[in-house]
């Protein structure tokens, strides 16, 4: 059911590859902010500045045929799974060349070819869908897993409780990645939970829980890989809390005014960390610069593609409505 994709090379991607993906993600979000200001992207736009390493590191643990569910802030999964950037931006601009022909927008790119089933703008959906995928994977017994991306805000939804229990009860091959970016829109973590060590919740459901520095892309990759290995071997679900910081507005409509001045300071910058590590391991600065330039160019080319993409034809909506409204019976 899942077709081939360039994102799955068969071996876990190395730091240089991950750094490149992070650069693509950051440049994508920068481009989207520009497009939003230009009026070419409408509606809510949830960018992921500051938390690039968490999302990119997690998808690095996946193999061809695995499934990913995601949140209203899904760009890291789009990039990490290797979705082509041009159609991805076109979808966010409501154009015909988008993966969903403009029907879904930035929160709902649904693409079985990449196992992306699916992101959702409803907090908690990624958890519920993941239980179903995991159940089907367990029945199939083919060693595939589901990466369920969720966040600190979703952890208080009823869906989290229902899904975490079912995943553990049925020992499903699911990895629940809680991107703890410290904010549920405007409400800081310590104002919406008493126990801020979110990974500790896992024990209450009978599954392992582990925290990882969400700004260290290699640490996330390795931590999630241990969890996916365990799931592939029939060991059941794991909750991974990736501790990060949303160094961005919630969405384009965010009026701000709820953050402390220095509260981002304790969090290492995921790009500085990764770049320094690459240099320390002997990669030349010129090589790393080239990775950054390549990412930048790829996003620029994708924006150019999306800008020229035509608007979708609404005529097929009339055809679909005829089925559900029954108008073919009456007109």
């Amino acid at each position: 059911m899942i077709s081939a994709t360039g994102a799955f090379a068969g071996v876990a991607p190395d730091l240089m590859e991950l750094y490149g993906r992070m650069c693509v993600l950051r440049d994508l979000d920068l481009a989207l902010e520009d497009l939003r200001r230009e009026g070419l992207v409408k509606g809510p736009m949830h960018v992921g500045f500051g938390q690039e390493a968490a999302g990119i590191g997690a998808t690095a643990a996946l193999r061809h045929g695995d499934i990913t569910t995601a949140t209203h802030r899904p760009h890291a999964q789009y990039v990490g799974l290797g979705l082509p950037l041009g159609p991805t931006i076109a979808e966010m601009m409501g154009r015909v060349d988008g993966q969903c022909g403009g029907r879904g927008g930035h929160m709902l790119i649904t693409d079985p070819a990449y196992g992306l089933l699916a992101p959702s703008g409803i907090i908690g959906h990624s958890l519920l869908l993941a239980v179903g995928h995991g159940y089907a994977q367990r029945l199939a017994g083919d060693g595939h897993v589901t990466l369920c991306v969720t966040g600190d805000g979703a952890i208080n939804s009823g869906a989290f409780n229902e899904a975490a229990n079912m995943a553990a009860l049925w020992q499903l091959p699911v990895v629940i990645l809680v991107e703890n970016n410290q904010y549920a829109l405007s409400v800081r973590l310590d104002r919406h939970v008493r126990e801020t060590q979110l990974y500790r919740r896992a024990a209450g459901y009978g599954m392992p829980g582990v925290a990882v520095d969400g700004n260290d892309v290699e640490a996330v990759r390795d931590c999630v890989s241990r969890a996916t290995d365990r799931a592939r071997d029939g060991g059941g679900p794991t909750l991974v809390e990736a501790i990060t910081y949303r160094d961005a507005v919630f969405s384009g409509a965010d009026r701000g005014g709820y953050r402390g001045q220095a509260e981002a300071a304790p969090f290492s910058d995921p790009f500085t960390l990764a770049r320094a590590r690459l240099i320390a391991r002997g990669a030349g600065a010129a090589t790393v610069d080239e990775v950054e330039r390549t990412a930048h160019q790829a996003v620029a080319d994708a924006v150019a593609f999306a800008r020229t993409s035509p608007w979708p034809d609404p005529a097929d909506l009339t055809d679909i409505a005829a089925i559900w409204d029954g108008k073919e019976h009456t007109s």
Binding site: P112, L129, V131, A136, D325
Partner: protein, 339 residues
């Protein structure tokens, strides 16, 4: 054709489809070991095992949400939600996921999900166990809403629902599970999106759904004693709505009563009356009459509940009202001349 109860007919459909297609799995509260509180899943665990017949935690939104994921991953889940009142907890998954992903993916992702639930008053079950909420899911394009009114359609609609690649919500009726009818043996499908004329007549059309169909047939029998030949049409599918069949009957008789057990306002009777007015206005001799429950939560006391719900007598009274009304209007060409 063999006699079967409505619950046995559902069981028959589930068993046949599970034998036919190993992707079909049944899940819900108390469906496995216990066999479902109305017995519809009795014996399935023994035949198909715990991987395919799954007792779930009490997590309605989780069950339906997980089933949507299963369906997106290639299984064909059949969920039982014990009471339609409890379906309120799962409306999020239906409205925001089941109806959405096939649309946004242009059908590259399908959600072959069936949610069986049951509604209907009459058991003194009180405000949280008596509602008929079919209008809530019928409002959602992308999801079929069907309501079998007898055992044959219980089997036929459930079989068609399981084989459909679209999500289907099937509202069964708690008062019907023990009623017996003749049911086709072997494979039996009732096409989704089709109404059925269950009793022919020329004088007036009574359109009904779910448990109200039996009351409509009782009303037709009473009316025949007065020489009135009522046609009874079972809606069966609220979305898509088979306006062809409903409108054809309205045009034939020119007088229409629409009856449902649920509340009158914003319910299926309003939608059907509007469709008939739009498509058959010039054939009508009287305004479309509607029968539905009083606009209060269903009370527990049998005395109070019977004051809220509507039955055959109420349909008879509404029918007498439309039979004694005669709209006088100019001939069609005169109408146009005045424009």
């Amino acid at each position: 054709m063999i006699p079967m109860t409505y619950a046995q007919a559902l069981n028959d459909a589930l068993r046949q489809e599970m034998r036919r297609d190993e992707r079909v799995i049944v899940l819900g509260e108390d469906v496995a070991v216990y066999g479902g509180i109305f017995g519809a899943t009795t014996g399935l665990l023994d035949e198909f095992g715990p991987d395919r017949v799954v007792d779930t935690p009490i997590s309605e939104n989780g069950i339906v949400g997980a089933a949507i994921g299963m369906a997106m991953s290639g299984l064909r889940p059949v969920v039982e939600i014990m009471y339609s009142d409890f379906l309120c907890l799962a409306l999020d998954s239906l409205a925001n996921a089941a109806a959405v992903y096939p649309f946004v993916s242009h059908g590259r992702v399908t959600v072959p999900l069936v949610v069986r639930t049951q509604g209907g008053p009459g058991n003194s079950a009180g405000p949280q166990h008596s509602k008929s909420l079919e209008q809530w899911t019928a409002h959602l394009p992308g999801i079929h809403t069907v309501l079998p009114s007898d055992a044959a359609d219980a089997k036929g609609l459930l079989t068609a629902a399981i084989r459909s690649d679209d999500p289907v919500v099937m509202f069964e009726h708690k008062a019907l599970y023990t009623t017996e009818d003749l049911v086709p043996e072997g494979e039996h499908l009732t096409p989704l999106g089709t109404a059925r004329v269950v009793h022919e007549g020329d004088d007036v059309t009574i359109i009904a759904l779910s448990g109200m169909v039996r009351h409509a047939l009782d009303a037709a029998a009473s009316l025949s004693a007065f020489g009135v030949h009522a046609e009874v049409v079972d809606v069966r599918s609220l979305r898509p709505l088979d306006t062809t069949t409903l409108v054809a009957s309205a045009r034939k008789t020119g007088r229409v009563v629409v009856a449902a057990e649920t509340w009158l306002r914003y319910g299926p009777t309003a939608e059907i009356a509007a469709a008939i007015t739009e498509e058959a206005f010039e054939y009508l001799h009287a305004p479309v009459a509607r029968v539905g429950a009083l606009g209060v939560p269903y009370p527990a006391s049998p005395t109070l509940e019977s004051a809220v719900v509507r039955k055959a007598d109420d349909i008879v009274r509404a029918t007498q009202r439309v039979l004694t009304t005669q709209v006088i209007r100019p001939a069609r060409n005169q109408m146009w001349d005045t424009v």
